[in-house]
Each structure stands twice: as structure tokens, then as C-alpha cells.
């Protein structure tokens, strides 16, 4: 029952976002600000986790492929496909749920509790359009870019770790990378990243925007936003994989 009520409220909020802006210049400014917050703000953590994920997947793949009849290029192929298909989009987005999601929920929650949203409403501003929509759009623009960067850095991290550990020669790794490469995997990852970007921004925005109470409730809504968006993200990952692969 609660899920249905929340879904209804979410649809209502989404419907309220699309109205003519009071001042397009201010909305654009807000959008750029959010692109900076979400995109540039998450760049560091995405770089770090991508490199390490790639590195760990190379080491673990090499550890499991002990048979001499399996060529070493296979390590590169496995690292490439797992990073592109799963690690870069899904793992990065789960981290982004925590980083971006909690920020959005607590920022909007604090604005709600300290009456800043009411102040905007009284000025005659459509707060859903001005505060929520730019966050979602900024997520849809920057998160797929971050995922693409994560793919590149993940594979580079794998190559680096393989070379540093003496597991695989860089030239063999490069050869493996282009063997049996399917461009569709990248498209699939990008489709996933758009869906995940929507979940990462819209769900916390919903919980933050609708906070009632004080500091304690802001904390609760922030936690709930991260948990719900993580679960939805994994569910979407399964559904997309089942439908598109």
C-alpha cells in the first residue's frame, strides 16, 4: 500500500516538473550547477573505483585461468566484457547512489525543513521544475559520461595491474582487447547508465523533496533514498539484462 502511495506521489511530482520556466536563464544556470555538482563532484571517486575494479578483475581472472591451453588474451577479453557490461555501469552507479543520492536527498530535505522550498513557492516559482528537474537532467547527461570514463579507466587499470604483476604482457593484453569485440555491449552499458542515472537522481529527489519533520527525518530520508535507489538499480539491471542480452 505504501509503495503504491509513494509511486502515486512520485508520478504527481514528475508531472509537476514540466511547466513553462519562470526564467529559462535561471533554470539553465541551475542545470549547469547540478552538472558540475554531480559530474565533476563524482569524478574523483569514479576514477579511483574504476581503476581498482579493473585491476582486481585482471588479477582474479588470471588466478582462475590456470590452464595452459587457454590463451592469455582471454584474460583481456574477460576483463573488457565484465568491465563494460557490469562493473563500470552497475558498480559505479551503486557508488553514485551513495555519493550523489544522499547529497540530493539531504540537500532537498534541508531546503524543505528550513522552509527554503516554501520561500521559493511563495515567490511563485515552480519548485519541482526549478529544484528537481535540473538534477535529473544533469544526472542523465553526466552519469553516462562518467560510466564511459569508468569503462576506459577500468580496462586501463586491468592492463596496468596485469603488467605490474607480470601476469600478462601489455601487447598481449591489447591484442585480447580487440578480439571478438561487440560494440553492442557498449550500447547496452549506455542504455543501462541512462536508466541508472534516472534512478540515482529521481528517487533521492523524491524522498528529499517530501521530507516532513526535522534533522532526524532528513537523515532517515537520505538513508531510505540510498537503499531504495540501490534496490531499484539492481532490479533494473536484472530486467535490462534479461530483455536486452
Amino acid at each position: 500500500m505504501k509503495i503504491l502511495r509513494e509511486l502515486g506521489e512520485f508520478i504527481k511530482m514528475a508531472g509537476g516538473m514540466f511547466r513553462k520556466p519562470e526564467n529559462s536563464k535561471m533554470y539553465w544556470k541551475q542545470f549547469m550547477l547540478q552538472c558540475n555538482d554531480i559530474g565533476i563532484g563524482s569524478l574523483g571517486i569514479i576514477c579511483i573505483i574504476s581503476v581498482f575494479i579493473g585491476a582486481v578483475s585482471t588479477l582474479q581472472t588470471a588466478y582462475q585461468l590456470v590452464s595452459p591451453i587457454i590463451p592469455k588474451t582471454t584474460i583481456a577479453q574477460i576483463v573488457r566484457d565484465t568491465v563494460i557490461l557490469e562493473f563500470a555501469p552497475t558498480l559505479s552507479c551503486i557508488v553514485l547512489c551513495g555519493v550523489v543520492g544522499s547529497k540530493i536527498a539531504s540537500e532537498l530535505g534541508n531546503m524543505r525543513v528550513s522552509e527554503q522550498i516554501d520561500a521559493l513557492e511563495i515567490m511563485g516559482i515552480n519548485t519541482k521544475g526549478y529544484l528537481v528537474l535540473p538534477k535529473i537532467l544533469a544526472g542523465l547527461v553526466t552519469i553516462p559520461l562518467l560510466i564511459m570514463l569508468a569503462m576506459v579507466l577500468g580496462i586501463w587499470g586491468g592492463r596496468l595491474a596485469g603488467t605490474a604483476a607480470g601476469i600478462i604482457d601489455p601487447s598481449i593484453f591489447d591484442t585480447g582487447l580487440v578480439m571478438a569485440f561487440k560494440a553492442y555491449n557498449v550500447y547496452f552499458a549506455l542504455i543501462k547508465s541512462f536508466v541508472f542515472a534516472f534512478i540515482i537522481t529521481a528517487v533521492p529527489a523524491f524522498y528529499g523533496y517530501n521530507v516532513k519533520g526535522g534533522a532526524l527525518e532528513i537523515g532517515h530520508s537520505s538513508t531510505r533514498a540510498v537503499v531504495v535507489s540501490c534496490v531499484l538499480l539492481l532490479l533494473a539491471d536484472y530486467i535490462l539484462s534479461a530483455l536486452l542480452l
Partner: protein
């Protein structure tokens, strides 16, 4: 002018407003007073459209705000300025940016003109220039209220709403904020509605006072009439204030020449010492522990 007609609001089964009728005049400080839970905040939120009333109407110069569509409501809201209890300043913006925000959003003026207007209103609320580039967290509560007031009046509103403008402020700063609101109201001929339970404000700037009790309008009048009111519920509310109790006691002393029984010992002793008279006939002037004999002895 704002006219409220038979305004009702219930949350689930609990009636918070039970049919309020009141008229708020132009160019006056209209105060809504009442104890916590009396419905004054809900009344104000219904008036500005943050809460939808269950029934009744809110007329802004004759136009019913409750039955308006979104575009019409937006047009009215552009004429409203509101000072929130906590200031509601945008944390991520400086004082100057906060005040400039409504101008950025609703005007197409050049930056220099907007900056000039911001400077003008910030000077009007007596804020020094060195605070302009500070963030709300870096200034005091009184300054935050002044910035919020400057933001509320920057677009020359026709209606100004102030929710507990003195909460969390010291008496001196409260008086400055009250005076500012009063001056601005008269200067721009604004319809100002102030939600308060600060009796200093009531006596200082209450051109028109509405007393709310359990969701109903219990009394209305001005700051000259309130102290003489015979309404028992209103008296219970206002004479809970020491300041007004003192005013009432002084009136009793003036009229009867006797010290009221509820006069606090410290105040009574101070008056006795000042006048060097044993007013209560206890054989002492001032504090008995000092053992000072009375002049009668």
C-alpha cells in the same frame, strides 16, 4: 487589502480553523496573535497558498485566491513577500545573491541596476556593506532576519507576510526588526500580516490585532484597546507576559494606591527602595534581609 471569509481547515478529523472571518487593511501592521496550536500559522499558510483550506475564501483585493488557477495564483504570489521564522535564506548563496534572487528570476534588468536595487534594500534594513558577500551561516540571527526582510521587499510587494519575525532574537534586535517592518509597511503602503506571540511587538506595532483561540477569532482591535479588553481568554493570554503584568500592576497602583498582591518581591523591594517608602507595610523598606528599618519606624 486581504479579506478572509469563513475559512476552515481540518487535518484528518481535527479542525484547526473553524470558520475565521477577518479583514487585513492596507498600510497597517496586522498582527495575528494566539498561543501555540491556536491556528495562526495554519491561517497564514492558507493565506499564502502553502496549505489548501477545506473551505472558505481568501480575497486579495476582491479576488479569491483559493479558487484561482495556477497562473492566477502565480500572479498574486509575485506581489507577495514573506519573512519566514527561520529566515529561509538559501544556504549556498551569499547575502547579496539571496536578495538578488527574486530580481534574477522575475526581472530582465541589467546586472548593474539589480545590484543597485539590492544595495538600496540592504541599506534600508540597516545592513552594513561588509556583510554583503557573507553566507547566511556566517552572519547573526538578527542579520539573517534583516536579509530575509530585504529579500521579501526587493520586488516591492503589495502584501508582506511575517511569520514570527522576532523568534530567537534578543529584545533589542526584536525592536529594531519591528520598527523596520512598521516603517516599510507605511513607506510602501503594504498590507502587512505578522504572526507573533511577542507582546512587545503587539504593543509597539499592532495597528490591527486578531487574537486566535482554538481555531477561532476570539477578539480583534488595536494596541490601545487590547490592554483594556474585558475578554477573559485574551486577558489570560496577554497577561502571561511579565511586561504587560507590570503595566497592569502600575495601573492598579495608580488607581488604588495599593501594591498588587502578585507583584514579584524583587520588583516591590526595588520600588520601595527607590521611593524610600514601606509600600506593603511589612516594616521594612526593600529587602527585609537587609534589615533596613522603615521611615515610619
Amino acid at each position: 487589502m486581504i479579506e478572509i471569509k469563513n475559512l476552515k481547515k481540518s487535518f484528518d478529523d481535527k479542525a484547526v480553523l473553524k470558520g475565521v472571518d477577518v479583514v487585513f487593511d492596507e498600510g497597517k501592521c496586522n498582527l495575528i496573535i494566539g498561543s501555540s496550536g491556536s491556528g495562526k500559522t495554519v491561517l497564514m499558510k492558507c493565506m499564502v497558498g502553502l496549505i489548501k483550506p477545506s473551505s472558505g475564501s481568501v480575497l486579495y483585493d476582491g479576488d479569491d485566491f483559493v479558487s484561482m488557477n495556477d497562473v492566477e495564483k502565480k500572479n498574486i504570489r509575485e506581489k507577495i513577500g514573506m519573512l519566514f521564522q527561520g529566515g529561509a535564506l538559501f544556504d549556498s548563496q551569499t547575502v547579496e545573491q539571496n536578495v538578488m534572487f527574486p530580481l534574477d528570476m522575475f526581472t530582465s534588468d541589467k546586472y548593474s541596476k539589480k545590484k543597485e536595487r539590492v544595495k538600496q534594500v540592504l541599506e534600508r534594513v540597516q545592513l552594513k556593506e561588509d556583510a554583503y558577500r557573507k553566507f547566511p551561516s556566517e552572519i547573526s540571527g538578527g542579520m539573517q532576519k534583516r536579509v530575509a526582510l530585504a529579500r521579501a521587499i526587493v520586488l516591492n510587494p503589495k502584501y508582506l507576510f511575517c511569520d514570527e519575525p522576532n523568534s530567537g532574537l534578543d529584545p533589542q534586535t526584536s525592536m529594531v526588526i519591528d520598527k523596520l517592518i512598521q516603517e516599510i509597511t507605511q513607506e510602501y503602503n503594504i498590507t502587512t500580516i505578522i504572526n507573533t506571540h511577542d507582546m512587545n511587538s503587539v504593543m509597539e506595532i499592532g495597528d490591527h490585532i486578531t487574537y486566535m483561540h482554538q481555531g477561532e477569532k476570539e477578539w480583534e482591535g488595536n494596541n490601545k484597546e487590547i490592554i483594556l479588553s474585558e475578554n477573559q481568554k485574551l486577558n489570560d493570554f496577554i497577561f502571561a507576559s511579565e511586561f504587560l503584568k507590570d503595566a497592569k500592576r502600575m495601573r492598579t497602583i495608580q488607581e488604588t494606591g495599593e501594591i498588587p498582591k502578585d507583584m514579584p518581591a524583587g520588583v516591590k523591594d526595588a520600588i520601595e527602595e527607590k521611593l524610600n517608602v514601606d509600600l506593603d507595610g511589612d516594616g521594612h523598606i526593600g529587602n527585609p534581609s537587609k534589615n533596613k528599618p522603615s521611615s515610619k519606624e
